[in-house]
């Protein structure tokens, strides 16, 4: 059984999601923040800049870089020199960082970034979907997705603790839906400094750039060595599966708040239909499920918090007794007509004894509103799949035929 979430309402304040994240970063005591503004991430770095201007983040340098490429590049140097580092970005900014993302991960630097997820151009769009982060799937970063502002705030401290573990040493991106979470004002309990100090130890790396003990970072590896570096990165990812669960529980022990580990389940125990999704859409789905449960439709939701590492076992165990699994993706792998979560879920089940239909919907691209009616329609279609089997494996939803 998942621990009960003990949100202390007396401590709640109404703040913007971006502020909650910036505040969480502040209490995690970063040494170097390096960022370039981009909508809808901007408010996070503005709030951090104000904290800096007010002298509220001690022992920290803020670098106003000239691009996202340099934002993350600077953190390569900072992290290698022993600093706890932070950046935030989204969309084109994250794509611009692409090459550096590999570098940070390959050098095993536990850098942490918040991604305010946004669509990528062309056509240019500032609104939310998950294409930006999903497109960085194979860069070696841990990717965690949050459902609401309380979770993204708390995930900030969790991500540092996961990344900086000496068995892991992988960078993390915590993902929040752009605008939907970054710009929403809702009640949250901000991370407390004393509890965070108790939860998150000081970053004390074993290897740093230090003239007293010179080491070389980022040497080149010929075919005799390169494979082993990749192998060790994957081993660390596999270890992170347990670490993410452990840290979620450790967080609960200190703060009394819990959102799931690798995944979270809602009303799945006896569910015939399980809807899988990542991010803020999960809240909408929960509302629909409550409504349908009142009408005795046996449906539940499986929230995926960790997309990398991918929780193969957790997902298999969660869906094994269902009759149909529906995966909603705010992204598409062009050329396959599938979203990434759908593809990964099918792949996870293929060589197992869990033989259930899995259908996928690509939804909410470029910030298109995801309506309750659409979720209900998808659940209706899943009910049909239970009776007749799969007719359409993966499809876009809410396409305006009249515009085509």
């Amino acid at each position: 059984m998942a621990p009960e979430n003990k949100l202390d309402k007396s401590k709640m304040v109404v703040v913007e999601g971006s502020y909650a994240v910036a505040h969480a970063v502040k209490v995690c005591r970063p040494n170097v923040i390096s960022a370039y503004p981009i909508t809808p991430q901007t408010h996070i770095v503005e709030d951090l800049s104000q904290f800096m201007a007010d002298g509220e983040i001690p022992n920290c340098e803020y670098i106003n870089v000239e691009s996202e490429f340099s934002a993350l590049s600077a953190l390569v140097g900072s992290s290698a020199a022993g600093a706890r580092c932070y950046s935030a970005t989204t969309s084109q900014g994250l794509e611009l960082m692409h090459e550096v993302l590999f570098n940070v991960a390959g050098m095993r630097l536990p850098v942490m970034m918040t991604i305010a997820n946004r669509a990528v151009s062309a056509p240019i769009s500032i609104w939310n979907d998950h294409q930006d982060a999903i497109s960085q799937r194979d860069t070696g970063w841990i990717q965690l997705y949050a459902e609401n502002t309380q979770e993204i705030s708390d995930m900030t401290a969790q991500a540092y603790k996961i990344s900086e573990d000496k068995d892991i040493l992988l960078p993390s991106m915590t993902c929040m839906d752009g605008f939907i979470l970054s710009h929403v004002y809702e009640p949250v309990v901000l991370l407390e400094q004393d509890l965070t100090d108790e939860f998150l130890p000081t970053y004390e790396p074993d290897h740093v750039l230090d003239p007293k003990n010179p080491v070389s970072f980022g040497a080149f590896a010929d075919p005799n060595y390169y494979t082993e570096f990749r192998y060790l990165q994957e081993q660390a990812m596999q270890k992170a599966l347990k670490k993410i669960e452990d840290v979620a529980n450790e967080f609960y022990d200190v703060y009394g708040r819990y959102y799931g580990g690798l995944i979270d389940e809602y009303r799945t125990d006896d569910a015939d239909i399980i809807i899988m999704a990542m991010g803020s859409i999960v809240g909408t789905i929960k509302d629909v499920i409550d409504k349908l449960r009142d009408r005795n439709v046996k449906v539940g939701v499986l929230k995926v918090r960790s997309f990398r590492p991918f929780p193969v076992e957790a997902i298999k165990n969660a869906v094994k007794d269902a009759k149909v699994v529906v995966v909603l993706d705010k992204n598409i792998s062009l050329g396959l007509n599938e979203g990434a979560l759908f593809t990964e879920t099918k792949s996870s089940l293929y060589n197992t004894d869990v033989r259930i239909p899995v259908v996928g919907y690509m939804i909410g691209h470029g910030g298109r509103d995801i309506k309750v009616d659409t979720i209900e329609k998808i659940i209706d279609e899943a009910t049909e799949v239970m009776k007749t089997g799969i007719k359409i494996e993966s499809q876009f939803t809410d396409v305006k035929e009249e515009l085509l």
Binding site: A74, G77, A83, S216, F217
Partner: protein, 291 residues
Amino acid sequence: MKSLLAPGHRGCAGCCDAMAAKFALMGAGEDCIVINPTGCLEVMTTPFPETAWEVPWVHSLFENAAAVGSGVEAALKALGKKEKTKVLVMGGDGATLDIGMRSISGAFERGHDLTYVCIDNEAYMNTGVQRSGATPYNASTTTSPAGKVSFGNNRPKKNMPAIMAAHGAPYVATTSIGFPKDMIKKVATATEIEGPTYIHAHAPCTTGWGFDTSKTVEVAKMAVQTGLWPLYEMEDGEVTKVRKLGKNIKPVEDYLKMQRRFSHLFKMEGGAEEIAKIQAIADKNIEVYGL
């Protein structure tokens, strides 16, 4: 003076990068952290699990060394370690004048306390001698080859020291591996000054330029003696010191003749006129800098 670049690296015989790195480290001293973008220097000194660096060293990517250096500097400040430790970025002309330009511009505009040394061998040597923004007029490279209708690279070198001075750098200097004491002294000066400082080191490449491996220093000296590569220092945007050539100014022809990359100028019709244009570049330097 101790060399902080260990012997046993994999540089070519007569390698300019090895000399440049060694001299730069002699100038900076052992309490420094080196950031090195992709290029010959990186590849020849760090084949895992070996390293030739006796100071802390980090490589990230081709185009971001100055940004990585910014981060190192910021971390040292935040962690209270900046007081003594120097941040030394060393990149080739490709990483500096071309692909890394944005990153360098950003680091200098922000005023990080670091020294950037450009080791300029005037083409992309690590990938096999392709032209860069530092390739001189009429040099033949694999992507600006001399041919029936071409004398090679048809543009003059980008004036990087002037660009860096325009960023408001408190100290900018040119130097050459043909003048080790000059280079060591200028790097020492640069690393002592607070703020972003820039050293542009001319560095003839035996492989890419086509001269005997024993001639690196000789060729380097000749570039200076012809006036093609003037040695000067700039403080706050003004030229304050110049290395005078006196009466021993050599004709550019003597310099060009030493190198295969200019050999077409001595064979092709119209080559003499092209050599005269190169002489005009040197003459202008001699006039402008009062060599």
